[in-house]
Every structure is written in structure tokens, then in C-alpha cells.
């Protein structure tokens, strides 16, 4: 028996922080993305401000579109191709950022160096009024709190039984997800993450706009396999400028010899890592260069000078 996968109510930050995958069971096993905060997602429901979509398809016969969904905690890429014609049409429909509810399947791309990029392959995209967007966000934040509460209980009482959970009306799947999250992300600051939801709560109250003010690397998550991120200073230091130019040099070199003129992201990461620029630091540089408009990533995993 294969039940339909529920759409986990998730914030962009939680999704950005999710780097662990798990295969399901059965004949055609689904893939699940595990978050540090007790979500085990195959399908998600998100709400926020959806940017106008850009075409990232290689040619007309393989239409593929991407937009960014920003909520008060972060942003993720939302994609749709010709296999999701309805979602693709909706994705392409807007020319300005608009409040939107998105349902889709999560997709984790992992580079050679272990850096993960999460995107959502849209199944349903719906432009909504602001009140509906806030209501959906309220739902998302409430269920996120519910999962965080459950995680705290599991931490205090590791023997918490499925029977107890079931009696309280909490899905047993959540308990399993909470245990797995704790196992896979042992060093995550969950208190900080809870606090970081305050912008989302303010948005529910109508006190702020639909998306976050400043994009940032999630601070509440530490990936144990890579070195901890360095807090990005307000202005880049001389050292960081050096790293930026190293990154750009390598990008140019890769692009020069590639057939399509794009630099493969994995290739660039692997080259800069041999110069000592690794993991989240390399990613931070990439993000900053993208934000500053120096480089762009028109196709997932493919970079070029803007």
C-alpha cells in the first residue's frame, strides 16, 4: 500500500538547512529529505513571495523554469518543467513578485564537495491574497513549532513511545523523523532556529512584508561534516576579496575550456578547494558574488559572468 505523501509545512530556512537524504521502502521507494527539525519530506507546502520565473531550459523542446520563493526566513528555488505543465504555466504567469502557495517535491542536488542545494519541483503553484499567504504561513510555523516541541520531548525522554504519541494525536511518522533528525544532525542549535522564526510570526501578524529583508546563510545549522561557517562581516575583508578573485579566476578558467561557455559549479568548487577555499566558505563567496551580480547561475549547477 502506498499512501500519498503528505505535504510537510516547511519554512525556507528549514529546507535550506536540510542536507540528509533517506530512501523509503517498497517497490518504488520514494526519497525523503530529512531536516534538522524533524521533517522527513518528500512533498512540501510553502508560502511566500514568488519571484518572476526565468527559463533555464536548454532548448524549447525541454522547457524548464525556475523562480525563487522567499519567506521571512529564507528562500528556495522552485522549478517546473514540461512534465508539470500546469505548475509551469503558473510559475511563468507573474511578472512581479507575488504572494504564492507552492506544493511540490523536494529535490536535493549535492555537489562533489558535499554542498547541498535544495529546490522544490512544483506540482501546484497558486497566487493568493496576502491574507491567504499569511494564513498558510501560520499553518507552516505552527507545525514547525509542533515538530520542535516533539524534538525537545524526545531529547528529554528518549524512550518516548509511539503509543503515547499516537494517543495525543501526533503522527507516529513525526516521532520517527524526530529520532532520525537527532541522529543525523547531532550538533544543531534548535533553540536558535525556534527563535529565528520570529520574522515569520511577525509576518503572520501582518507586521512585515512577505519576504525576508536580508538573505543570509542559515546561522542555526551546523553541518558537522564541513567546517563551521564564518559569520559574514558587513563588508568583505581583504582576505575575502582575495578569495573572491580566486573564485572568479577559477570560474573563468573552467568556462574557457567548457563546450557551452558555462563553468560547472562542481568543477569550480573542486578547483577552489584545492586552493584552500572549501565548504561553506566557498559557498558564501559564491552567494555573495551572485548577490552582487558579478556571476549568475542560469542553469542549476552552471555558472557564468553576469
Amino acid at each position: 500500500m502506498s499512501l500519498r505523501e503528505p505535504a510537510w509545512r516547511i519554512t525556507a530556512r528549514e529546507l535550506e538547512s536540510s542536507l540528509e537524504e533517506e530512501k523509503g521502502e517498497g517497490e518504488r521507494p520514494a526519497t525523503y529529505l530529512l531536516s534538522p527539525f524533524a521533517a522527513r519530506m518528500n512533498r512540501v507546502l510553502m508560502a511566500g513571495s514568488l519571484s518572476p520565473a526565468e527559463s533555464i531550459g536548454r532548448d524549447e523542446s525541454q522547457a524548464f523554469w525556475r523562480a525563487r520563493l522567499s519567506d521571512p526566513t529564507g528562500a528556495v528555488a522552485v522549478t517546473a518543467g514540461s512534465f508539470q505543465p500546469r505548475a509551469m504555466a503558473q510559475l511563468r504567469a507573474g511578472s512581479v513578485p507575488r504572494p504564492t502557495v507552492v506544493v511540490g517535491k523536494v529535490h536535493l542536488f549535492r555537489g562533489r564537495d558535499g554542498v547541498g542545494y535544495v529546490s522544490v519541483r512544483a506540482e501546484a503553484v497558486r497566487s493568493v491574497g496576502e491574507a491567504d499567504e499569511r494564513a498558510a504561513l501560520a499553518d507552516i510555523v505552527r507545525q514547525t513549532f509542533d515538530r520542535l516541541d516533539l524534538l525537545e520531548r524526545v531529547e528529554k525522554d528518549p524512550a518516548l513511545s509511539e503509543e503515547t504519541i499516537r494517543k495525543e494525536g501526533i503522527p507516529v511518522a513525526w516521532l520517527r523523523a524526530a529520532r532520525e533528525s537527532r541522529r543525523r544532525y547531532p550538533n544543531v542549535d534548535r533553540v536558535a532556529f525556534r527563535h529565528d522564526l520570529k520574522n515569520a510570526v511577525r509576518r503572520v501578524a501582518g507586521e512585515s512584508g512577505p519576504s525576508r529583508a536580508t538573505p543570509s546563510v542559515p546561522t542555526s545549522v551546523t553541518v558537522t561534516r564541513a567546517p563551521p561557517p564564518r559569520a559574514p562581516p558587513p563588508a568583505p575583508s581583504a582576505a575575502e576579496r582575495t578569495e573572491e578573485s580566486l573564485f572568479l579566476d577559477q570560474l573563468d578558467e573552467v568556462a574557457e575550456v567548457s563546450a557551452d561557455g558555462y563553468a560547472d559549479l562542481k568543477e569550480v568548487f573542486s578547483r577552489v578547494s584545492s586552493h584552500g577555499l572549501v565548504g561553506e566558505r566557498a559557498e558564501a563567496i559564491l552567494n555573495r558574488l551572485e548577490e552582487e551580480g558579478v556571476i549568475e547561475e542560469p542553469i542549476v549547477g552552471k555558472l557564468r559572468r553576469a
Binding site: L3, R4, P6, A124, D149, V191, R194, A205
Partner: protein, 388 residues
């Protein structure tokens, strides 16, 4: 047999005590249902008559097979004494076979084993399973209504409804009129549980006994029909239920949704003008929506009928047909219906049945839900916690 026989009928076995055995048994029982058939022998093509159906003696109901039965005189309600019947087990349940070695004779209802009501165990609704019998329950009648049905050639009235105790709710069909009324509390004995399409119901016939009771610890029927929504994960866990209430967001539509055509006789949907049962028919237009409702813990399919679809969509069947005349592409209509529903928060109450694809709700009510954003924001702010 291990059973201790009742003092008045020392040589007989109660059906409840039947076990698969090589030695033949004797019992007295009433024919509950029977059906006459003929089996064609493979060896010589000869035909052999066969009567099969259900027997009950008040302690249990078993299937019976009677080879070469009398030509007439065996029908529903007749009480029989069988000596030398064979007992076999099929799918874990005993069945009896009457062969040439079995002596079967009419008997008086007075010869049926006396069943002391006190020895029948009490059960809760939650514990009832398909094909259970020989139990007592105390339940509140939530609702009940007579319905005329055709059984074979016969017109009969069945009283259908819903009963509940503190542990759950279950459908009820009474084939005799016990004068049941909504709201009253009753003790039922001599009923059995039948399952149809994954939905269990308590079935009462003329042998069942209904006694009115105080039922102080039984739930208030109005409360049952107003109960707050539960998580879809819970509903999936329990395999649906009689009076399920859930709340979620519309995340999709399943085909066929929108304008559909139905067979005028059986109301099944018609494809290419062909009904699965009645062949070529003139399909009648209807509106429906098979809504996928998701609350983050699970998803159910809600089968909305024409009235609900019209109300949620804001387009009537006539309106939809008029649109189809101007824009002869039915997929556009479905698109429009989806557009009007997607992302909407609905509270749905109704009958939930589970199959291999999950739980399907046949709604009694579908209501859009408005969220009080200020209250939600306040509640959520309280849960932020302090940064330590």
C-alpha cells in the same frame, strides 16, 4: 468436542463451539440465507444440485453447503436439526457440509440452544471487526432512517443509521423494525458485523434483541456530529471511520473531476458513452470534484458531489455546460475548477473508507475555514521562546 454441552440438549454442539474435526457433529440451527445452485461435474458433465448459505443458532453463524438437498421446503427462517454433518475450516472459520451421511430434519425453534444473554461478552465499538458475532454492545443511536431496498426478487425495508459508544462510531443496518430512534441508548445482542468496501456495520435481523438502557456513559449524539477535526495521519491510522472530521488545504484534484457524465440507471460514470454495467447509454451530465485535502500529516481524497462542487466553485452545472459550448475543451473547465479550489482551507466531515490508495471521504459537509490571523500570530509568538 471440548465444549460443555447445555443441560437441555446434551448431545448437540453449539455453532460457537464448532471446530474442524473428522468426527461428525449434531446441531440445531436456523437458516439465515440460502441459495440453490447446480455444479457441473467435470468427469461426466453430470449436474449435481447444491444448497448453500448461512446457519445460525444464536451463538454463531456459519456457512453451510448441502449436497443433493430436498427439492423444496428449505428457506430462510426454517429451523433444522443436522446429525452427522462434517465440519471444515475455511480461512480460519468453521463451515459445515451436509453429505449423504448427514441426516437433516426439520426442528422446532424451541429446540434451538438456549442462550443466556448474561454469558455473551460485552464489546466496545472500537473492538468490533468484520464477521464478528456473539457479542453484546451498548450504544447510542446517532441517526436512523428506513430505506427500501430490493433483495433478489423481494422488496424489503432496512433501517440504516449510525450508532456510537465512547470508543467509536459504527454503521448499523436493521432488517427488522426495532423502532430505533435517534438519541436513544440501546443494548444489542444477537447482531453480527459485516464489512462492505472496507466499511464495517452492525447488522440486526429478526433474531437480534434490542433493549433500551439508560446509557449515561454513552456520548451525546449531537456532540459526535460536531466533534473537532483530527489529524489526517490519525484517520489513516484508524482506516477511516463513520463520522470523520478533518481540516486541511486543497493541494490537487484527481480525475475525473469537473463535468462528468453518468449512467441514467446506475449513476456510474460513463466513458465514451459506455456504462460499465449497462453498455451504450445516454450519459447524464453531473459535476463532481475529487479533492486531495492535505493537513501536513497526511492526505485524503474528498469526493464532492454536485451541490458541494457548485458551492465551492461558484459555477453551476448549467453554467459549466454553457461554458463548454463556448469553449469545447473539458480540460479547461477542470483547470478552472482546480484554480478555484487550490490552496483553500476546508473542513470536511463524513464517512471515511480506506483502500490501498488511502482514505476517501464521502462528505456530509464541506466548509471553508477562515483563519483568525491575529489570534494565530499571538499564539505563535508565545511559542517562540527566549534565546538563551
Amino acid at each position: 468436542m471440548s465444549a460443555d454441552p447445555a443441560p437441555s440438549t446434551p448431545v448437540e454442539t453449539r455453532l460457537r463451539d464448532l471446530r474442524a474435526t473428522t468426527s461428525s457433529v449434531e446441531f440445531v440451527a436456523r437458516v439465515v440465507t440460502c441459495e440453490r445452485r447446480e455444479i457441473t461435474r467435470k468427469s461426466d458433465g453430470g449436474r449435481r444440485p447444491l444448497l448453500s448459505g448461512l446457519l445460525s443458532d444464536g451463538t454463531a453463524t456459519v456457512r453451510f453447503t448441502w449436497w443433493d438437498p430436498p427439492r423444496e421446503g428449505i428457506e430462510r427462517g426454517v429451523v433444522l436439526r443436522a446429525v452427522g454433518a462434517e465440519v471444515r475450516e475455511f480461512r480460519g472459520r468453521p463451515e459445515v457440509t451436509f453429505t449423504w451421511k448427514t441426516r437433516v430434519a426439520p426442528a422446532s425453534p424451541a429446540e434451538l440452544p438456549r442462550v443466556d444473554a448474561e454469558e455473551i461478552p460485552f464489546r466496545t465499538v472500537r473492538d468490533l471487526k468484520a464477521s464478528d458475532e456473539g457479542f453484546r454492545v451498548e450504544v447510542r443511536v446517532v441517526r436512523i432512517a428506513p430505506k427500501s431496498v430490493t433483495v433478489g426478487e423481494e422488496r424489503r425495508v432496512v433501517h440504516e443509521g449510525l450508532v456510537a459508544d465512547r470508543t467509536g462510531t459504527i454503521a448499523l443496518s436493521a432488517w427488522s423494525d426495532f423502532g430505533l430512534k435517534a438519541g436513544e441508548a440501546v443494548r444489542i445482542a444477537g447482531a453480527y458485523v459485516r464489512s462492505f468496501r472496507g466499511r464495517c456495520s452492525i447488522v440486526l435481523d429478526e433474531r437480534s434483541v434490542v433493549v433500551r438502557v439508560e446509557g449515561n456513559d454513552l456520548p451525546d449524539p449531537a456532540e459526535l456530529l460536531r466533534s473537532p477535526p483530527r489529524s489526517i495521519a490519525e484517520v489513516e491510522d484508524e482506516g477511516g471511520g463513520e463520522a470523520v472530521a478533518v481540516e486541511g488545504v486543497v493541494v490537487g484534484l484527481l480525475p475525473p473531476s469537473g463535468l462528468v457524465y453518468r449512467c441514467p440507471t446506475c449513476h456510474r460514470s460513463v466513458r465514451s458513452g459506455i456504462c460499465r454495467i449497462h453498455g451504450q447509454v445516454e450519459g447524464q451530465a453531473d459535476l463532481r470534484a475529487r479533492i486531495v485535502l492535505d493537513d501536513g500529516t497526511g492526505a485524503v481524497t474528498v469526493n464532492a458531489n454536485r451541490a458541494d462542487t457548485e458551492r465551492l466553485w461558484g459555477v453551476t452545472l448549467e453554467g459549466a455546460q454553457a461554458r463548454l459550448r463556448n469553449q469545447p475543451d473539458p480540460t479547461l473547465l477542470e483547470e478552472e475548477l482546480l484554480e478555484s479550489l487550490l490552496g483553500r482551507r476546508l473542513r470536511v466531515r463524513g464517512l471515511g473508507t480506506k483502500d490501498e490508495f488511502g482514505v476517501t471521504l464521502t462528505p456530509e459537509s464541506i466548509d471553508p475555514v477562515e483563519i483568525d490571523l491575529d489570534a494565530a500570530a499571538e499564539e505563535l509568538a508565545a511559542r517562540l521562546g527566549d534565546r538563551s
